[in-house]
């Protein structure tokens, strides 16, 4: 919180000032990254996708998907999960360029994601040295929304928080699992289910 205030003061009038404005509440951005590992301190970005949610609709077609140049830590183990080989990333862009595009696309919109903290940690790790600030956007954590809903329905139960299980329970089709764009689309649909106000396009967050 304090960090955000300090960064806003420092960058609020700079070239990225618009990121620090309060969002207008009409749009959200579902975000997902594929990385080379599960440790946010070491994992490197492979691809990142953002899908806009606008007026109760998921603009799946208008999504942004970025593939980065193959990072050094790309190994067999992570390729098995996201199926992006070194060759696939040969066309990839440099990290700095990717960050610029991502920031321009998501702007100041609130970010929605499944375990979005992990994705933010990875992105922020790149952002800090490059631009000197972290993503200031408000964040909607889907797993927290889901846990709250389940707790309300059965206070004593422990919800099954695996992504596929949750999607199944919400009646959301899992689209392209373990691709950044597919997971982001699924996350966006889950958000519509978890937040019926947003699904009718009336409320904001």
């Amino acid at each position: 919180m304090l960090k955000r205030l300090v960064q806003k003061r420092r960058h609020g009038n700079g070239p990225y000032g618009h990121l620090f404005q309060a969002p207008d509440g009409h749009e959200l951005m579902a975000l997902d990254c594929e990385t080379t590992g599960l440790d946010p301190r070491r994992a490197e970005l492979v691809s990142v996708a953002a899908v806009p949610i606008r007026g109760g609709r998921v603009c799946a077609g208008a999504a942004l998907e970025l593939h980065l140049a193959a990072p050094a830590s790309l190994d067999g183990e992570s390729i098995c999960i996201h199926r992006l080989r070194g060759v696939d990333l040969a066309q990839g862009i440099q990290v700095r360029e990717a960050l610029e595009k991502l920031l321009a696309f998501i702007g100041n919109r609130p970010l929605v994601g499944w375990c979005v903290d992990f994705d933010l940690a990875v992105i922020n790790r790149y952002l800090r040295p490059a631009l000197g600030f972290e993503l200031p956007n408000p964040v909607v954590e889907l797993s927290a929304l889901f846990r709250k809903r389940e707790h309300y329905r059965s206070p004593n139960g422990l919800p099954d928080l695996r992504f596929e299980q949750v999607a199944g329970k919400l009646g959301v089709p899992v689209i392209g699992r373990h691709t950044a764009r597919g997971d982001a689309t699924t996350a966006a649909l889950m958000y519509l289910k978890l937040n019926p106000m947003a699904a009718t396009g009336q409320g904001d967050l």
Partner: protein, 607 residues
């Protein structure tokens, strides 16, 4: 990520760059169950592709079951025709929670313009769909009509030439009876002489008008028994290459079936009448088609088609006729601002013969329609020429009282509900049965919602509303047997009305939007207000009353009028019924009595 198979029709008709454009613009949205995605006659902003779930296509002007035109599930495209035509013909409503891809209308039009194969795909579907609909609407009954009709329903009285009759006598008899053939008898065998035989005799064989005709007769006849299926008779005519068969009961000829009779018998089936209504492009054609309805009803009754199906079919046909008449009379621009309702029995889909025209008009608040009164007067006149008599209570669009904007209607409903006297209750009852037939059908839902909001929770109002159902006594005596007054029993007041009105009152309380009595009964069972067995008995009772009444109306229509045999009005002479019918009628009236008791407990009508 668009999880759609672009190798499937219709998207496989797009080339790669257009597919990319489509992919980039697609959106996804969830819709909860029961949400109207596309309203009839409204333009559509999107073309929808179902990803998961089910969407129903409904024709809101038809009774519930007949109105279900199609179901769209995963992978199906709908709304495309609505975008191409500028507006939707029917209502699309989600049956369960549904996830759809949305294609913006503007993009879809561009795709159609730039990729002709893609556009053709949808145009062809439109043509195919129209044909399918016409077949479906009449399908069941047509097949039944074709398969079930018997020879004796269609045969003519035999025209027998006395022994020794001359050619001249034969010709005179044929002309007099408008027939094509006559029968002769020789040594106990039956032969037939046709017009062709007579011509052959006069021209080729040199007979004179005074010669005996017997020598021209053919004695190798194709015979059928009277209870043979008409279909079989048609088959044997085809097989023997003849144009008539003789109907024999034992060794006695009882009738003749001509090929032309069979064809015209089949052509009076509902399918043909329905097609004629659809094809009619002016008022004359429409009124010709409309005039054939009684004939159709008689044929349906003769085949023993269930009352419920007959009602549904006739409601659909009447609805189409009125809707067409509305389109002919009212200018296109104004049709989009108003909704034509049919009320009363027509609204419930229970008017089989055209007994009167009860109708009303709702306008949206934005409507500007200067010649409205003139158009409405013309519309009423038009219905009159189509064979719908005037409403004796003047509940017609030509009466400005029954025309108004949504807010006028709202005011009227609350005024009537506040008045609480019999006339006001009658008006409310008539309005609750409203069913849209033309124009902006969703306006009716608004009206009905208003009615429910004002009336459904108001116990005192409901009690007043339900009271008339006890107004007429059931024609059963103290021992539960049928009363037999000389002037007959009034089947409408004694049987039909209490059931219809009681069910209507309960539906008002339960906010049931169906208008047909049988459909309402089903909903009441679903809502736990009636047990299924009793509801079924009520439904059967109502069907019986309707059938008895209809038979009487048909008899009157044949012009036998006001004599002792056919008393006026809805009077039913008990002694003219068969023993079985009398038993059925008694049991049904007992069900009505039981229903009245329940009503009186429920709405506190004892006092």
């Amino acid at each position: 990520m668009i999880d759609l198979d672009f190798e499937q029709l219709p998207f496989s008709l797009l080339d790669e760059p257009h597919r990319e454009r489509l992919k980039a613009a697609m959106e996804m949205a969830f819709f909860e169950a029961g949400k109207v995605l596309l309203e009839a006659r409204r333009p559509s902003d999107y073309v929808y592709v179902v990803h998961k779930g089910a969407v129903l296509e409904l024709d809101p002007t038809l009774p519930a079951d007949a109105g279900r035109l199609g179901v769209y599930t995963a992978g199906d495209v709908f709304g495309a025709l609505s975008v191409l035509n500028g507006r939707s013909r029917y209502r699309f409503i989600t049956e369960e929670e549904t996830l759809c891809y949305l294609i913006p209308a503007a993009l879809f039009k561009t795709l159609c313009e730039e990729q002709p194969a893609f556009a053709d795909h949808f145009r062809q579907r439109l043509a195919g769909k129209n044909r399918l609909l016409a077949e479906r609407r009449e399908g069941g009954v047509t097949m039944a009509g074709f398969m079930l009709a018997r020879v004796h329903q269609c045969m003519r009285e035999p025209l027998v030439l006395p022994t020794g009759g001359t050619v001249q006598q034969a010709v005179a008899a044929l002309n007099q009876r408008q027939a094509d053939s006559l029968l002769v008898e020789r040594d106990g065998r039956v032969g037939v002489i046709t017009k062709t035989d007579l011509l052959r005799g006069l021209v080729d064989e040199g007979l004179t008008p005074a010669s005996p005709a017997l020598s021209l007769a053919t004695f190798r006849l194709v015979k059928v028994p009277p209870d043979e299926y008409l279909f079989a008779a048609l088959v044997s005519m085809t097989r023997h290459e003849v144009e008539r068969v003789v109907v024999m009961e034992g060794r006695k000829p009882v009738g003749v079936v001509e090929l032309t009779d069979v064809l015209s018998f089949f052509s009076s089936r509902s399918y043909v009448v329905g097609l004629e209504v659809e094809r009619a492009d002016n008022l004359e054609a429409l009124s010709l088609a409309s005039a054939r309805l009684p004939e159709l009803i008689r044929a349906l009754m003769a085949q023993g088609v269930k009352m419920r199906f007959a009602m549904d079919l006739l409601a659909a046909l009447n609805g189409r006729i009125i809707s067409k008449a509305f389109q002919f009379v009212v200018p296109e621009a104004s049709q989009d601002h108003g909704c034509l309702l049919v009320l009363g029995s027509e609204g419930r889909g229970e008017q089989i013969l055209k007994t009167d025209q009860d109708n009303a008009l709702i306008l949206d608040d934005a409507a500007h329609w200067p010649d409205r009164d003139e158009h409405m007067r013309r519309f009423t006149e038009t219905l009159l020429t189509l064979g719908y008599p005037r409403c004796p209570g003047n509940i017609m669009v030509s009466n400005p009282e029954w025309v108004g904007s949504v807010s006028d209607w709202r005011a009227k409903v609350s005024r009537w509900a506040g008045q609480g006297d019999d006339a006001a209750m009658m008006n409310l009852a008539i309005l609750i049965d409203a069913h849209p037939v033309a124009g902006r059908t969703e306006l009716v839902d608004t009206l009905r919602e208003t009615l429910f909001q004002r009336c459904s929770g108001d116990q005192i109002l409901l009690s007043r509303f339900a009271r008339p159902s006890l107004k007429f006594s059931t024609p059963l005596n103290w021992f539960g047997a049928l009363k037999k007054p000389d002037q007959g029993i009034d089947i409408k007041k004694g049987g039909l009305f209490p059931v219809v009105h009681g069910v209507r009152a309960m539906s008002l309380e339960q906010r049931i939007t169906e208008t047909g009595t049988l459909a309402r009964l089903e909903k009441l069972v679903d809502a736990g207000q009636l047990d299924a067995g009793f509801a079924e008995e009520l439904g059967e009772a109502m069907a019986l009353f309707a059938e008895l009444r209809l038979r009487q109306q048909l008899a009157r229509l044949e012009g036998e009028g006001q004599d002792r045999e056919h008393p006026p009005g809805n009077q039913l002479l008990v002694e003219r019924l068969s023993a079985l019918e009398r038993d059925l009628l008694r049991d049904s009236l007992q069900v009505v009595n039981e229903f009245k008791k329940r009503l009186s407990r429920r709405f506190h009508l004892e006092y």
